[in-house]
Symmetry: C2
Subunit: 184 residues, 2 copies
């Protein structure tokens, strides 16, 4: 831990519905002090969902106010307090796609932006999807449209900037890796 920074003080700046913001003063390895701006987030899940023929990926079209545009992203959602990521994943899969998976395989766990935020994301592949029997209520401030794209169509959507976030690119690259392994 030779690079570890020592926490001196924490000041809460903001407590929101989705994120909290803190300012920390830390002591650096050389003895000097520095300020750190830290966004706290409960974490999130995301799901790579392929159609039964495995030739299309299921995406969600939605408005993203922080970037002021509509995006195509893999199904995803925030982890509620004390919720297991796998439970969140099954819930979001139901809410956003009306599908249930026989098995959810965790393929990656990662921080989305560890320089300023602690958001941790759990990425799953959903296996053996089928329509849900009981549809969970959707968030009342979310407006979604489901879209199925072939791999070629995802290339076009990436070039057009409609697919434009890290978790969705990761899911598509993972899908490409799966395809090369199946061929080999």
């Amino acid at each position: 831990m030779k690079f570890a920074e020592k926490l001196l003080t924490t000041k809460s700046i903001y407590q929101g519905r989705i994120i909290n913001l803190e300012e920390q003063t830390v002591e650096l390895p050389n003895g000097q002090t520095a300020q750190r701006e830290i966004v706290r987030h409960h974490g999130a899940v995301a799901l790579l969902c392929l159609t039964a023929a495995k030739d299309k990926i299921i995406l969600v079209r939605q408005w993203r106010q922080p970037i002021n545009k509509t995006t195509l992203e893999i199904p995803a959602g925030k982890i509620e307090a004390a919720e297991e990521p796998l439970v969140t994943a099954r819930r979001e899969l139901n809410e956003e796609t009306r599908l249930a998976a026989k098995q959810l395989e965790q393929i990656a766990v990662f921080y989305t932006s560890p320089g300023f935020a602690d958001e941790k994301m759990y990425l799953y592949v959903a296996h053996d999807l089928r329509p849900v029997k009981n549809q969970l209520p959707q968030d009342d401030d979310e407006f979604l449209e489901l879209v199925e794209l072939t791999m070629e169509e995802t290339d076009q959507a990436i070039a057009a900037g409609e697919i434009c976030d890290s978790k969705t690119l990761m899911a598509i690259w993972y899908w490409k890796l799966l395809k090369t392994q199946t061929k080999g």
Copy 2:
């Protein structure tokens, strides 16, 4: 733009060195209003750097205060005001690895967490790396260690949780895709 949210009010909560925070009130497509918590960030660059034999990836070991641990990440850094991403990339490559690239090839542009932040990241592959002639000064609150890992060693570092952020996983998966293409 049928899902577009209409901005009603913006309230500045915090203006920091790295991020700003805003609270927005928006009108939803159904006419209701909702609150949005938005982190503003200047954007960042990240670089996939392979050794000359292309058998190892160059990573940076550093402390990340938001997640309270040491990580192994690809070289990366924040875009300064009015800086071109390609200029940032060359600067960060020099500062963090003391290398210069004959060519930087952009392989992806993405938002790291579009649900609450506008941070946009430009990911490059660095081609034909060689030691720099003029070393730029390093940030005085950054303490770094360079590490070179084989693909197998990255698998171990991922399993151990030391490689744990989206951009670095993306770079490694892209490297794997490159390898399968070279073989094919």
